[in-house]
């Protein structure tokens, strides 16, 4: 198990850059982290706490960006995306003022906190807007790399961090500007996953391999999906399965189907994610992330069963 969270890996990298460039400013909506305590102590003039006021955080960030600052806004993911969605739409999507929006707690990352603290719709919602790049972070090595990519970004980018400690699967050599990666080679079948589900996909691919079913794994971590690379990556595949801890409409599976359809690639796709017909009911189930996943049918066993049926 990795000893550093995605959050701390990300902020440690931002801290390194902020020490060299006084134009880096962090705006937190009263959200902390051990790595941010260090930032606040050493770089207090570059640290702004606006209180629990996300709309103001985005507006201030836009103003600061207009004065040449490289601004990072930070809060729990649903609050720093959806509470201030219209501010993001006007300032960042319409006016194209670049900032980095950092949200922690992807999916059921706060499993004991109920649906207010889960984030299961943001990829669909932010993907609907031009000029916003979504980066759904897979491990802490990627989180650190995106600290630097965000610093250099010319467009607004949303960093979607998992709250829980997840093992590292990437090496520092990986080029994270590519937006997606083949983590396990496949031929006829691919599991296409994002965020924490990429880890599930790897584990399921291993289990299927033991049953002599070869399934590749692709990690999609940037939206909009880079189409050309994606199409080259899945070339020749006969069936695809998408995996996401996100409601199905508008998420990863939708993105995949849109691209395939637009390019007249008519292969079967099984979308595995959260169905909307159960609403938020299971978000009130407690006992950990895996319990909630089980209710929604996206736990390891359910996914394995669905994949096996689909590949028959």
């Amino acid at each position: 198990m990795n000893s550093i969270s995605q959050r701390d890996a990300f902020w440690n990298k931002v801290y390194e850059m902020a020490k060299e460039d006084r134009n880096v400013v962090v705006i937190t909506a009263d959200m902390g982290a051990p790595s941010l305590d260090k930032f606040k102590k050493d770089l207090s003039s570059q640290f702004v706490n606006v209180g629990i006021a996300e709309q103001n955080a985005i507006n201030l960030a836009a103003g600061l960006s207009l004065t040449g600052k490289k601004v990072f806004t930070y809060a729990i993911a649903p609050f720093i995306t959806l509470r201030c969605l219209e501010q993001i739409r006007v300032q960042n999507a319409i006016m194209e003022i670049p900032i980095t929006i950092v949200g922690v707690g992807a999916g059921f990352g706060y499993p004991d906190s109920g649906p207010t603290h889960h984030i299961l719709e943001d990829i669909a919602i932010l993907r609907a807007m031009p000029n916003i790049i979504i980066n759904n972070i897979t491990d802490s090595i990627m989180a650190s790399a995106f600290g630097e990519i965000s610093y250099n970004a010319k467009k607004t980018n949303y960093i979607r961090l998992d709250r829980q400690l997840i093992p590292d699967i990437y090496t520092r050599k990986h080029d994270f500007t590519k937006g997606l990666a083949i983590l396990k080679e496949g031929k006829d079948f691919y599991l296409i996953a994002t965020g924490s589900m990429t880890h599930t996909a790897l584990s399921i691919a291993d289990k299927l391999a033991a049953k002599k079913i070869q399934v590749g794994v692709i990690d999609v971590y940037t939206f909009p999906i880079k189409e050309e690379l994606f199409l080259n990556t899945i070339k020749g595949a006969k069936k695809l399965i998408s995996l996401e801890e996100h409601f199905l409409p508008g998420g990863l599976g939708s993105s995949v189907c849109e691209i395939l359809n637009d390019h007249k690639i008519l292969i079967p796709v099984k979308r595995i994610g959260l169905p909307t017909d159960k609403g938020y009911e299971y978000c009130y189930k407690y006992g950990g992330r895996e319990v909630i996943r089980e209710y929604y049918g996206i736990d390891d066993m359910s996914i394995e069963r669905k994949v096996m049926e689909f590949l028959k």
Binding site: V48, A53, Q55, A62, G63, S65, L66, K69, V90, Q91
Partner: protein
């Protein structure tokens, strides 16, 4: 500061006519919202309260003026054209085919800082710019013109609280207090008064003026760069929505409505009479 008031009064009459004409030609635009704030804009721009360079709109030392009530765009466009930021002929194409700008404020127009139309945003952006100016040790001022109806947005008060806490004394908010919102008078909708007390309790220095009196507008802005206070300043400017066109005042129905037919003639006549009387 030029205190020749008759010059500004003449300009105010001239630009009021332009605003009415451009909206009538386009068949759209917020005439009354523009007329309530036009005198403030003339004082800021024609009165050289603001530092700007019409030949170099992006000049880094310029004061930043943020029209947070983006529906007042005809007033700002007419002023910017008049002082040479762009060709006055553009006003004739307002919100029409081949026109460069429409009903709500656009950031890509020379002299305009932001896109606005959704309320409660511009004020926060202005505070961000003011904070950035302090961080960068730059000495330009930031002015935000906000509507009184805009003050129903909670984000306005998030920004108000933040700005005083962070001692943004380089930020000046001017509230166009025209007492009318979209469907009714503010005090019927949800009371805004006692308005000065609200701002004071949020830590702002407060002035209240007649927003159609150039004497009072200029007086409130005197010494604006050398204020001793650490607090941001809000100037609540009491105004009349539709000022200059009696037939369009004191009636919420004229929000975002352009007069046509008989009403058009009446409006023009009213404005002409007002111009002759003032």
């Amino acid at each position: 500061m030029d205190n020749n008031m008759s010059e500004f009064i003449s300009k105010s009459k001239e630009i009021r006519k332009i605003i009415l004409e451009m909206c009538i030609k386009a068949g759209t635009g917020h005439v009354t919202s523009s007329l309530s704030c036009i005198d403030i804009l003339i004082a800021l721009y024609h009165g050289k309260v603001l530092n700007y360079d019409a030949n170099n709109p992006e000049w880094s030392g310029r004061d930043r003026f943020i029209l947070s009530k983006g529906q007042g765009s005809p007033a700002l466009y007419a002023v910017l054209a008049d002082i040479g930021f762009f060709d006055k002929k553009e006003l004739e194409k307002f919100a029409q085919k081949d026109g460069k700008f429409g009903v709500h404020l656009q950031h890509d127009v020379p002299g305009v800082e932001i896109t606005s139309g959704s309320l409660g945003h511009g004020f926060g952006i202005a505070a961000g710019i003011a904070l950035g100016a302090k961080m960068n040790k730059e000495f330009y001022m930031v002015f935000a013109l906000i509507g009184d109806g805009e003050c129903y947005e909670g984000s306005v008060w998030e920004t108000a609280m933040f700005s005083s806490h962070n001692r943004l004394n380089n930020l000046v908010a001017i509230v166009d207090r025209n007492y009318l919102c979209v469907t009714d008078f503010t005090e019927n909708l949800v009371r805004l008064e006692p308005f000065e007390d609200k701002w004071k309790s949020f830590g702002w220095d407060v002035l209240r003026i007649d927003g159609h009196s150039f004497e009072e507008i200029f007086k409130s802005l005197e010494g604006i760069r050398s204020r001793k206070s650490i607090n941001p300043l809000v100037i609540i400017a009491d105004t009349v929505k539709g000022k200059g066109i009696e037939s369009m005042c004191y009636n919420p129905l004229w929000h975002a409505v352009v007069p046509t037919g008989e009403e058009e003639e009446k409006a023009k006549l009213c404005l002409e009479r007002w111009c002759n009387y003032e």
